[in-house]
Symmetry: D3
């Protein structure tokens, strides 16, 4: 069958839970995460535009909304596995891409095949839009980890998730990254100041690393 | 505070459940629904473009991704209430818009206020993008109802939800609506043919009404 | 249909969750809340009787057990909306009452219509029973908020909920209110003394406000 | 401590699930069940009164609202155990009563001890109120089982639960029981007529047994 | 029917939750608990063997894997009830054993009856294997309570559960118990050192009691 | 740290859900699945012994209880991926084994390293015990799929899961496999005879394939 099969498949991402068993206070489905990435990216792109940068909104729409669609086929493979070795990471990405390609070949009507191939590609390239997607994806890791840390989840995993996302964002050159460090992160740290975990110190360490 | 307050608020939509207590097989959060609307709209717009219609992707991005953001303030008010009377419907919309406006006034920095006012407005106008949003929103009602009907949920509510969404879509003039009735709906009906509920008949009745 | 439709509808309140997304440690359905209000009210009325006040137990039974039945039609509209403006509050109450009246007209047999109209009316009037209901309803907000605060939920919402309920109860003249402040609240504060949140201080501030 | 300990304990019944693992479509907490019993009993008593029978509302209030409070101490012991033998049933009841008595001795202030002893006694005696409680308790088993059977839950347990409750109600002489068989049960059977399980036949068998 | 009935029944233990309503951060089914007891016991027995003690692995397999099977019939009766009095405890054990015996009589084929009677007996005798089971069962109470205490659950129940399990293990003479106190417990206490609850002190008090 | 780290890690498998999003009626954690495999294997081995086959209970204990421990590191990778290609399957197994080896190197004390390496190896070899594990693992797929099919879950996935497991078991030469086909499967098919899905036909097709 055709587009129906694709539309029906979207439902499945609502029931794939990120990092199963780790979040104690707020669980996140892949579809909810995807929506938040779409939302962050929109505001980040607004900031770029307000600084005079041209944004290709069609491309941004395509790469943010579908950036985790491939997890329908391989689930949320635990992050430690993903980063265990460059070799493994490359292997897994090849597998995921192979399954997406197979899905398009089998289910998407001929006239839309090129469109789906473009939309379901890995979007984190060096374009403005690719970099915005990378920042938005990491931003959600920050907010997901923050929600756990703020309520006292002591699992080391969330400190690592929070810190690594900050470090990754720091390396990306965008006006919206400057805005994040100047005008968003301080409010977040302030909001977390009553937490039993010292979010300010974790933040400081990440920024100076 | 500023954009941080907005970003943090996105989390809340993950925990607002649509039509609480009615879905027996698959529950849906407002954020997961929002993501699926973004996805349907993208493919619907692709169909329009392939038929030569110009699409404003930035506008489409803005109105689809945020179309239910206001539910953060008023929750998922049961559909029967929404449609109980035109007067009530207008009252509730006024309340929701008032709270969104209040949120922007209080939390969004001056330079982004106009952007947020535009993004968080009601998007279902008569433009191509507004009509695509309307179709995408109803499409998700069809798929949500379908998932329940297929598994034998006998609550009348889902027959009504499925039928009304079909009738609403039928009234909208778009190439993608033709495509839906020609090439997507038949596959969906076919997929539901083993259900204890006669989805084909419900569909036929809706189409001929 | 008749009473059957009413009995069947009771089930729906089990699946309507209060303040969706806010409670991190213990969620509450409207039906569980309703039961606790019935229980508190019984003990509060026992205290009144022991001080020589006459209690109309039939009336108390009727107004406590059904006080949130109308939420079947409009769901748990977020408290901030309810209190956003007096105008809005009045509008929402009118809507809820209209839907309850419509339900009785359509489903309840003629001979029981007057009984249901009396039972499903707003019960918080100035009678002893109406005031006991108000205290019992607020008491449950105190216990619901307490359970979150005690475990370290830092959302401001629960401090507000706890404080406002205390302030509201303080204004009501009943022997059982005196008993609550003298003999129940001190035990509650004592029980919360190991919490990371300073429940004693929040309580003191509310009492002196 | 005193009444606070009792109020705090009410929360626990929200998290004790009836027949754990058996309900596939709608789970029920002991507190939600208790509230529904309070509601059914109110309407059943209204029917009695309308037929000229005097109802002691204070007693009815007391015995319906607290009739499963003892499950805080012993949980929801599976029904098969309860009825396994008369000897076992008596043993379990003795245990539950012992723990309730112990709780009152330890936590309830002197002046309220007699009240709590009366309220937390087994209420299903031969008075009108005791018989109404018995009917209301069984009515909820009927509605709980009905919700599962209607959606196709094939576990024999629910047929047994539904049938036994009907048989038990049939034996009780009350006007409201006549009303139930004449004016409520037919609507329920009608509502279940589209179920894959033949609810009408199960009902007929129970009534003629 | 035969073995099929037994195999099918195993599923039910996945949906019986231990201490319902008490665990706020991580709930445990009886089947998950049973698996962890199997795992702990395996390592404890490895330690015994490495110290030269002979282990009957078939017996250990039988008694650990099935040690809570009887809860299918009586549910997870709250621990306080179990230990309320020696008389009650004996009564409940008799009931559970009676129901297990009844199940074997009715469902297990003749040739396997003796095997099932042996496997489903109470396994905590004075043999090495019986003592390992006792330690493994208590170890899981320690880890279950630890997970709650570490995240700040202030319910006294978990301090009691943790302490009593430690005290019980201390009384058992096995090499693996020495190993636990020397090489496992210190790491656990260290891991809990950032908790808002003073796990080290609770541990010290239990050990010196 | 040492054995403590291993014991603590067992908890994580309670929160990894098998085939997330697919089971509509009964979800299964990896730990609950592991326990059921232990239970089936015990009875299967009893059957072998009763037919005169020698069983190494220590080995059986080791390989059944830990056969999915590696999923702590890579999660429940969707079955379709596992079987997508022999090359991919080999890659994933290598990754999982690498992470288990790494865990043992880093956390298990020197004296137990050989034991853990043996226990956490892939156990499905050609020995009696290895074959029993394979049958037990597939048996649980049959029972998991059966529970969904019986209640009317129409997802093709469960028909495939049920059929493939039957076909796989059929190929294994063991007395207990004969017993399963002669004395267990017929009861299961009989139990499923009222299902809206024709379980008997699916079974017949699998057996004749």
């Amino acid at each position: 069958m055709g587009i129906h099969t694709y539309f029906l498949s979207l439902n499945d991402l609502e029931r794939i839970i990120r990092c199963p068993g780790k979040f104690k206070f707020e669980e996140h489905s892949v579809s909810a995460h995807s929506w938040k990435v779409v939302q962050y990216a929109k505001t980040l792109a607004d900031i770029e535009e307000s600084r005079g940068v041209a944004v290709d909104w069609k491309k941004l729409y395509e790469i943010t909304s579908s950036h985790d669609y491939g997890e329908i086929f391989i689930g949320d493979i635990k992050t430690p596995v993903k980063h265990h070795s460059l070799e493994l990471r490359a292997m897994l990405q090849k597998v995921e891409e192979g399954m997406v390609a197979h899905f398009i070949d089998e289910h998407i009507p001929e006239e839309f095949k090129p469109i789906f191939r473009r939309q379901l590609r890995e979007g984190k390239d060096d374009s403005v839009e690719g970099k915005i997607l990378e920042v938005a994806d990491k931003l959600d890791q920050i907010y997901e980890a923050f929600a756990e840390l703020r309520l006292g989840n002591l699992e080391k995993e969330f400190v690592v998730m929070y810190r690594n996302a900050l470090i990754k964002i720091k390396e990306i050159k965008l006006h919206c990254v400057d805005y994040f460090f100047d005008s968003i992160l301080p409010d977040l740290v302030q909001e977390g100041s009553k937490s039993p975990i010292d979010i300010e110190q974790i933040t400081r360490e990440a920024l100076s690393s």
